[in-house]
């Protein structure tokens, strides 16, 4: 079913500079696979070498963290929003380097 994946600013460069991407998927795993198949470069930013989601990248279905749902197996329903939220560190003087 159609769901929207929101791409965070730091990763937009690897996803055709888009804010969000519409994909067809029935689980979170399928949605992310569909996304990384379309944008291969995104893969190494989302997954570690062992195939697990990186520990500084969180994925939410609507406002719930998938770590507290069924992770990759979390079911999606039509109109759900999947958000990718990586850690960012900026705030003081050297953010521009």
């Amino acid at each position: 079913m159609p769901v929207k994946v929101i791409i965070p600013t730091p990763l937009r460069g690897y996803a055709g500079k888009q804010e969000s991407v519409d994909v067809q998927a029935s689980t979170v795993g399928e949605a992310l696979t569909s996304l990384t198949t379309r944008y291969e470069e995104l893969k190494k930013h989302l997954y570690a070498d062992d195939g697990r989601l990186r520990s500084f990248v969180n994925v939410y279905v609507n406002d719930e963290d998938i770590r507290y749902l069924q992770k990759d197996q979390t079911r999606l329903k039509e109109g759900d929003t999947v958000s990718i939220v990586p850690s960012i560190a900026g705030g003081a003087s050297r953010a521009e380097k």
Binding site: H45, Y60, I88, G91, S93
Partner: protein, 392 residues
């Protein structure tokens, strides 16, 4: 560590007539009132960093009458800071941030105590610095310090008002609140240095830290007043381009190594090591690519050598300044490599020499024999050859 305290009037249990006038817009509001204003006067808040986030934080906390405001910074005001760090004026460039910030805050509110901690926050001094304050606000700019602030707050049981920004997006939450989650519950580990966006993708919309820092200030003030719903267990996301706030649920992780049921981190650690880097910033990758200095390049160009200048920056950077090079952004190089003639000698350059080192390495692997990286990039070219080329 240099800690200086500007003593104002001793914090009494009452407001002077002048203070009553100063805070009248607070006092006439039932959510603050005299009780709340006295709580603000007795509050002790430590602000880590006086940069983009620290500026609105410091200004609003001082203006609100937080009785004791500590600021931690060790940096010097730079011209590039002024685009967003509204604590500072053009005349402050070159001055220690801590002094410029304290002078500005003192000018805004002479009735409060300002503690100047001119030091880098470390695992050795953090607990000692934090212990005298009720609330810590995190306005730092790097992962090691963020994990350090988090862990120190958990170990001391102090709330940590967290804010972070990137380009035009920000995050805010409160960590270390009783029974609430911490930064490690949100992100157990930092990204490895190679994967954080490089200088090519950096930058920040000047007004963004103003908005995010003001949200942090509001949360700190609410914590002091004990009013409203604090941003505990919620991660606020702000996107200035879309002009949208979103909120995500944030849970306490029972397995969290710092605040979980069986903590394994019981004292402060080496956060540079934890983040996979030595020192505050990731060192440039160890590359052994062949290089050319700006002066050598200049003399070879003057001699009329046939050199192909390849600029691997982004188009918007090319508009700022360029060396008349052929532009292929680093990210596009793999698919546009056929545009290059491997029989010609190629000089790759970027702003600082880091991206072009990667480009040089890539081209070498792709079979190009005659590629040199311009050492220090356009910055060094401006310093050593042509000061008319602006640095950015």
């Amino acid at each position: 560590m240099a800690t200086k305290t500007d003593l104002a009037a001793p914090a009494g249990a009452a407001l002077s007539n002048e203070e009553i006038l100063r805070y009248s817009r607070h006092l006439i509001m039932p959510e603050v009132g005299m009780d709340g204003q006295l709580k603000l006067k007795q509050a002790k808040v430590l602000c880590i960093g006086t940069g983009g986030l620290g500026a609105p934080l410091g200004l609003y906390l001082a203006a609100a009458g937080v009785g004791r405001l500590g600021i931690v910074d060790f940096d010097v005001v730079d011209l590039t800071n002024l685009q967003r760090q509204i604590l500072f004026s053009t005349g402050d460039v070159g001055e220690p941030k801590i002094e410029a910030a304290a002078a500005r805050l003192r000018g805004l509110n002479p009735d409060i105590q300002i503690d100047r901690h001119e030091t880098r926050l470390t695992s050795e001094n953090a607990l000692d610095l934090f212990k005298d304050y009720d609330i810590i606000v995190d306005g730092t700019d790097n992962f090691p310090t963020r994990y350090l602030v988090n862990d120190a707050c958990i170990l001391l049981g102090k709330p940590n008002v967290y804010g972070s920004i990137f380009r035009f997006e920000g995050q805010v939450s409160i960590f270390g609140y009783p029974d609430g989650p911490c930064y490690r519950c949100l992100y157990p580990e930092p990204p490895p240095p190679g994967l954080v966006p490089s200088c090519a993708e950096g930058g920040v919309l000047g007004v963004l830290p103003g908005i995010v820092g003001a949200v942090q200030a509001a949360e700190a003030i609410k914590l002091i007043l004990g009013k409203g719903d604090p941003l505990v267990g919620r991660l606020l996301l702000f996107d200035a381009l879309a002009m949208r706030f979103r909120e995500l649920k944030l849970r306490k992780n029972p397995e969290c190594p710092v605040c979980g049921n069986h903590p394994t981190v019981t004292k402060l650690i080496d956060y540079a090591e934890f983040c996979g880097i030595r020192g505050e910033e990731a060192p440039a990758p160890q590359t052994s690519v062949p290089e050319i200095t700006p002066r050598e390049l200049k003399s070879r160009l003057d001699r009329g050598d046939d050199l192909f200048i390849l600029d691997v920056r982004e188009p918007h950077e090319y508009q700022i300044c360029n060396l008349n090079g052929y532009l292929i952004p680093l990210g596009d190089l793999p698919k546009r490599v056929s545009e290059l003639d491997s029989s010609r000698e190629i000089i790759a350059h970027c702003r600082s020499g880091k991206r072009s080192a990667e480009a040089t390495q890539f081209l070498q692997k792709a079979g190009f024999r005659k590629v040199l990286n311009l050492k220090g990039g356009i910055l060094a070219w401006s310093d050593e050859v042509d000061p008319a080329v602006p640095k950015y």
